[in-house]
């Protein structure tokens, strides 16, 4: 295999696939990128056996078709360091790959390309291959809408919870409605979008690992570009571009097994205190009050007064000090209340709200609070117990 590549395009692709490769693994092949040169283009693939990614790089000159399995880490460092070169040549034969620019040459030991596990393509999952069932649901959605769904839920997913299912994001399709839900047990984010122009009323739900969705955010390009999605019994695949069979990138992932907790039950329906805020004013107030909180006292106290439409935020860090911030409310309906929240949980949600006006609904100081923006985003957060 021999290809001459545009260094910028190569670097971008290598950075993306490196995010997939396994770092600590007994199988060194999983730490490699597979390069395949054929039909005038270079295809790069990586997998950690859970998540797989395939990228097509157009700006290449294929001198000799073939495959190579190159350690991702070193390839990324070399391509990154050769920053004076407009192009790099990769020449692989036998168990060596030579990467050369004008004044430098790197020889890397490689692995036989046949040792690399198959990285699924879109149709293998959508139509079923190797004895697997065809996908339970297949649809296309514009990248802008899908990216918003992911960005507005993924942040709330658990990191390493023993309740394994919440370490991923729940994705439910019901006809034209697509919904994503994430929770870490203390807060929950739910966002919905509609699948324009999609036919069929099939419904399917699955839990997508956070790692796959973080990658998806990195891969998403133009808002209008379609993302084709197929969900099978145990895998999900995303193909970026108009034609799913001929897309610029294919991201696949095993699904998270397990049952997502009954999230509809924890979204409160009878909140009788309703407060309207300016998003940026609230975000700034919470950030400032959070300056005097610490591990000991994670909460910011929010004291709402309906009569004069004011909110006072206060915080206290033992042996450090205390803070007070006053906020004017845009609207207030209900009794006065004092309630504590982890400030990061409030600012996390405000960051992903596009609407300048935010509605907070409360009930009691030991009951969850609800944030709403538009009719597509709901965020539930448990209060912090303040003595």
């Amino acid at each position: 295999m021999k290809v001459v590549c545009d260094r910028g395009a190569l670097l971008e692709a290598v950075n993306l696939v490196s995010a997939v490769t396994a770092t600590r693994t007994p199988k060194p092949q999983l730490g490699c990128v597979k390069l395949s040169a054929a039909d005038g283009e270079l295809v790069m693939a990586a997998t950690d056996a859970e998540v797989g990614l395939t990228l097509r790089i157009g700006r290449v000159d294929v001198a000799e078709e073939g495959d190579a399995l190159i350690p991702a880490d070193k390839l990324r460092q070399i391509v990154g360091a050769e920053d004076n070169e407009p192009t790099l040549t990769i020449d692989a034969s036998g168990d060596l790959a030579t990467i050369s620019g004008a004044d430098a040459e790197f020889k890397l030991n490689t692995y036989p390309a046949t040792d690399f596990p198959a990285v699924p393509d879109f149709n293998a999952i959508a139509k079923g291959a190797g004895g697997n069932h065809p996908a339970r649901t297949v649809f296309a959605i514009d990248a802008g809408s899908f990216e918003a769904l992911v960005a507005r839920t993924l942040f709330a997913a658990a990191r390493e919870n023993s309740r394994y299912a919440i370490n991923g994001v729940l994705m439910n399709r019901e006809g034209k409605k697509l919904e994503m839900v994430a929770t870490d047990g203390r807060r929950l984010a739910k966002c919905t979008a509609s699948i324009e122009g999609s036919s069929g009323d099939d419904s399917a739900g699955c839990i997508v690992p956070s790692k796959a969705l973080s990658l998806l955010l990195k891969l998403a390009g133009d808002d209008a570009e379609p993302i084709n999605v197929a969900v099978s019994d145990n895998q999900i695949v995303f193909a970026f571009g108009e034609d799913a069979a001929d897309s610029r990138a294919v991201l696949s992932s095993n699904l998270v097994e397990g049952t997502f907790p009954p999230y509809e039950d924890v979204i409160p329906k009878d909140q009788d205190i309703k407060v309207t805020f300016d998003r940026d004013v609230l975000a700034s107030a919470v950030r400032r009050a959070a300056l005097l909180t610490n591990e000991e006292s994670r909460g910011v106290r929010m004291a709402f007064s309906g009569a004069d439409k004011k909110l006072q935020l206060s915080s206290r860090a033992p042996e450090m000090g205390e803070a007070k911030v006053d906020v004017d409310l845009a609207g207030y309906d209900g009794n006065d209340i004092e309630i504590g929240f982890n400030p990061a949980f409030i600012t996390d949600a405000l960051k992903v709200i596009h609407d300048p006006s935010v509605l907070i609904e409360l009930k009691a100081s030991n009951k969850p609070g609800l944030l709403r923006s538009g009719d597509d985003f709901v965020y539930v957060v448990m209060p912090v117990n303040l003595q």
Binding site: N161, T183, G185, R186, R187, L188, P261, P262, V266, E295, E296, S297, R298, G299, P318, G340, N342, N366, P368, V380, M382, P383, V384, N385, L386, Q387
Partner: protein, 406 residues
């Protein structure tokens, strides 16, 4: 701790029984037993009128009734005890922030720093007794001394309604004639061992050279040597300002079965959780310490998602840590459970399982109430620091442990 301290030991007089007599005037002057009335009921408190007949706490109610047939037995009202106890602790805290609760009706107070404001130890003790009497109608006995051990001895010397100050230079005369059983940590077994050395009083004990005590009793011998001289450096420590809460036990005979260790560990987790709740705090980290028969010691910790004071969560974490080691089980000489990373607030509640959390908390509240009411043994254990157990720890087949709180 070289600077002279002033420590008070405040002990309510026959607390539960006195509260009953306070609230029910018809019981005043009569023998009253507070405790279980069923066939297996135990006396939680006996009024002084009943003590005359030999009734005392931790005695089966049936036995106490035989000793004092005309005694009035009442079930007791824990809420009322708790309410009055809280008022007493408020009074103590108004004289010094350094209050260490020992139980619902007993506390140490370090008033070393309060002299400028409120006077010397004896004056503060007198004022505390007045305030308690005025605010609650109850009496207490207070001991004043340079350390906790002497203060506790002193409070017991003129009970009920007494005030005894043991001051530097004079206390040795008071200590010497006392039986060795009054030494903190000396139970029946140690008492017998000492009797074999001809040691019956604290004065006798003081005459035994340090080397002999150490040779006979090891570390406990050093402890005896110090206490015979009224030396005790333990600070008055509130659970509030301690950074960790733990219980550990060393067994007179190594435990050979993992399940025996699990049982002890679970009891320790419960005690630790109860102390957390009493201090109004929550812990993020649970630690288990295991010393094997060959003296290899391992300490393992787990940090929880959320700070908790729930017995079941702390016990489950402790057990999980132990189970990792139970796979290659060897006999265990010491086991301990502890918590650290203490916080003032419970932190974030969980969106899910809220009902079961509420249920668990009310269960904990109920067991706390029972333990406070009948937990006289727990109160005793607090003073058996580094001491052999009270029930023949040196005898064969005994698992009665040495227990340590910190």
């Amino acid at each position: 701790m070289t600077d002279a301290r002033t420590i008070l030991h405040v002990d309510m007089d026959a607390f539960f029984a006195s509260v009953e007599q306070l609230d029910r005037p018809e019981l005043r002057g009569k023998p009253v037993l507070v405790g279980g009335t069923g066939p297996r009921g135990v006396v939680a408190a006996a009024s002084y009128e009943a003590r005359v007949f030999g009734c005392h706490s931790a005695m089966p109610t049936a036995v106490a009734r035989r000793l004092c047939p005309h005694a009035v037995v009442v079930k007791g009202s824990f809420h009322r005890y708790k309410e009055l106890s809280a008022r007493v602790f408020e009074i103590l805290e108004s004289f010094s922030p350094r209050v260490q609760p020992v139980s619902i009706d007993e506390a140490f107070v370090d008033v070393t720093g309060s002299a400028a404001l409120y006077g010397d130890g004896r004056t503060i003790a007198a004022r505390i007794r007045e305030r308690v009497k005025a605010d609650t109608g109850l009496t207490c006995s207070v001991g004043v001394a340079p350390n906790k051990y002497l203060a506790k001895l002193a409070s017991d010397m003129d009970k009920p309604d007494g005030l005894v100050a043991l001051e530097g230079g004079t206390y040795q005369q008071v200590l010497d004639p006392l039986p060795v059983s009054r030494v903190w940590g000396v139970g029946p077994a140690a008492e017998r061992s000492l009797a074999r050395l001809g040691v019956r009083t604290i004065g006798d004990l003081r005459a035994v050279p340090a080397g002999s005590l150490n040779a006979r009793f090891g570390d406990f011998g050093d402890h005896l040597w110090r206490l015979a001289r009224g030396i005790d450096d333990r600070p008055v420590r509130t659970d509030r300002d301690s950074k960790t809460i733990s219980h550990e036990q060393t067994f007179a005979q190594n435990l050979a079965e993992p399940d025996e260790v699990r049982a002890v560990l679970s009891a320790q987790a419960e005690q630790v959780a109860r102390r957390l709740r009493r201090a109004g705090r929550f812990a993020r980290t649970v630690t288990v310490k295991i010393r094997f028969g060959d003296f290899e010691t391992v300490t393992r910790s787990r940090t929880l998602d959320d700070a908790t004071d729930r017995t079941d969560l702390i016990a489950a974490a402790a057990r999980g840590l132990f189970d990792v080691w139970a796979e290659s089980f060897r006999s265990v000489r010491l086991i301990g459970a502890g918590v650290s990373h203490l916080t003032e607030s419970r932190g974030q509640g969980s969106l899910f399982d809220r009902e079961s959390d509420d249920q668990r908390r009310s269960l904990d509240a109920a067991t706390d109430a029972i333990a406070e009411r009948f937990g006289t043994d727990a109160v005793r254990r607090a003073v058996s620091l580094r001491a052999p157990g009270r029930h023949g720890a040196h005898g064969p087949g005994s698992h009665t442990p040495t227990e340590e709180r910190s």
